[in-house]
Amino acid sequence: MVDITDSLDCRGEVCPYPDVKSKRKAKKMQSGDVLEIFIDYPLSAERIPETMKSMGNEVLSSEKIGNSEWKIIVKIK
């Protein structure tokens, strides 16, 4: 298991807050940090990993943890 540096809970939030918040958070973090993001908005489940990759970060995992709930773990580069 990796050590989670910081966690972001965007459950209940709609388009585009999960995307914008996770992007802002990732920008503030240090290289090597690990960010964990919780969301329940389907569109963001596909787009946050893409955004993170295009920022150059590494998506360690993106899994569905329940009914319309996802957990995404990202390693900041």
């Binding site: 209940g12 709609v14 388009c15 585009p16 914008v20 992007k23 389907p42 787009r47 009914n67 319309s68």
Partner: protein, 354 residues
């Protein structure tokens, strides 16, 4: 007057269900599409929108040449379309969804979208029949310009149907060449199979759809929507606003004639999105944590309702259905919807916070 079940209720409802399924699976939302060009620099949804418009355009043109439909572009009323479009664009960012996006998300169990829809439907009704009507009628009647024979202005006049065919084919060609082939090529160089039919069912029902099939499916659905809707006496393809206005009118007056093809269409969208959201395990009743956000979504919905009726169409009526007609009014309204969306998105998400 009784409702015509065979021509109005069933066709509208079925087209609506299919529309809802595609919207939910493709996460097709024009608010996200336009907003993310500037906010997230993501272009997948806008590609989907462009492809849907081009596919519609080719179909509408061919169907008009063969006499299956008679094209019905929206009127040009510059004042109403500038003001209404801009207010609609601002509203959809606050409501976190365009007219179709808000409608299908109600089927996903998003309470914020439900609240936005209440604002949207009521404001649209008040603008059509109530206290806001004087403002929209004033804008519409004072800035309306038509051709000399009273027909509505389109980009190329009598030649418009031919240009629709040409532009549509060029658009599909460019989209295929620059976007679709490039993606396939990238897959080939990574040694991944270009098309994989393994787990086809899972891909359709459990994961979000790729932008290209989503756009093509919506474009083709619009052809059938046009034929079916014209058969029900409403000569226009897909639309959302009129449907919700119809429901509010029905609930407040009880008059059967308020229920049209479009009212059953919007109901079908909610039902279709609900069904596939359940299958994909993406249905969940969820409410934003802060009550303030619900209020903002309501206000956004209200602005959308006023804007849509004033501009004589929401993002579906004016952009998805209106742009393929090359109606001057729809092009103008659509441009201001995009502009309103960008101004509000900039203010909310991009301005540096001190």
């Amino acid at each position: 007057m009784a409702i015509d079940i065979v021509l109005v209720l069933i066709p509208g409802f079925i087209i609506g269900i299919i529309f809802g399924i595609i919207l939910q699976r493709g996460r097709f939302c024009m608010n996200s599409a336009f907003r993310d060009i500037i906010v997230m620099k993501q272009y997948k949804l806008i590609k989907s929108v462009i492809l849907a418009i081009c596919v519609s355009m080719v179909g509408f043109s061919l169907m008009s040449f063969s006499g299956i439909i008679s094209l019905n572009p929206k009127p040009f009323m510059w004042g109403a379309q500038i003001v209404g479009g801009f207010i609609f664009g601002i509203g959809m960012v606050l409501a976190a969804g365009c007219a179709s996006g808000t409608t299908y998300r109600v089927g996903e169990g998003m309470m914020g979208s439900f609240v936005a829809l209440l604002g949207y439907a009521s404001a649209a009704y008040f603008t059509k029949f109530g206290f806001l009507n004087s403002i929209s009628s004033f804008l519409q009647s004072n800035t309306k310009i038509t051709n000399a024979d009273g027909s509505n202005l389109t980009l190329f006049g009598v030649l418009t149907p031919i240009f629709m065919l040409i532009l549509g084919i060029i658009g599909i060609g460019l989209a295929s060449y620059f976007w679709i082939f490039k993606e396939l090529k990238a897959k080939k160089t990574e040694n991944k199979p270009m098309l994989e039919f393994k787990d086809f069912g899972i891909k359709i029902f459990k994961r979000g759809w790729h932008w290209a099939p989503t756009g093509i499916a919506i474009g083709i659905l619009a052809w059938f929507a046009y034929i079916s809707s014209a058969g029900a006496g409403r000569n226009y393809p897909l639309g959302i606003t009129g449907g919700w206005v119809g429901w509010v009118k029905f609930w407040s007056t009880g008059v059967d004639s308020a229920l049209s093809w479009e009212t059953f269409l919007v109901l079908g969208v909610v039902v279709g999105a609900f069904i596939v959201a359940i299958i994909a395990k993406e249905f969940k009743l969820r409410t934003p944590k802060e009550a303030k956000k619900l209020l903002i979504q309501y206000v956004g919905g209200f602005a959308m309702g006023f804007g849509a009726v004033t501009a004589s169409g929401c993002n579906i009526g004016n952009i998805l259905s209106g742009w393929p007609h090359l109606s001057l009014g729809s092009l103008l309204a659509g441009a201001f919807i995009v502009l309103g969306c960008w101004v509000m998105a900039y203010l909310l998400f991009m301005r540096k916070r001190e």
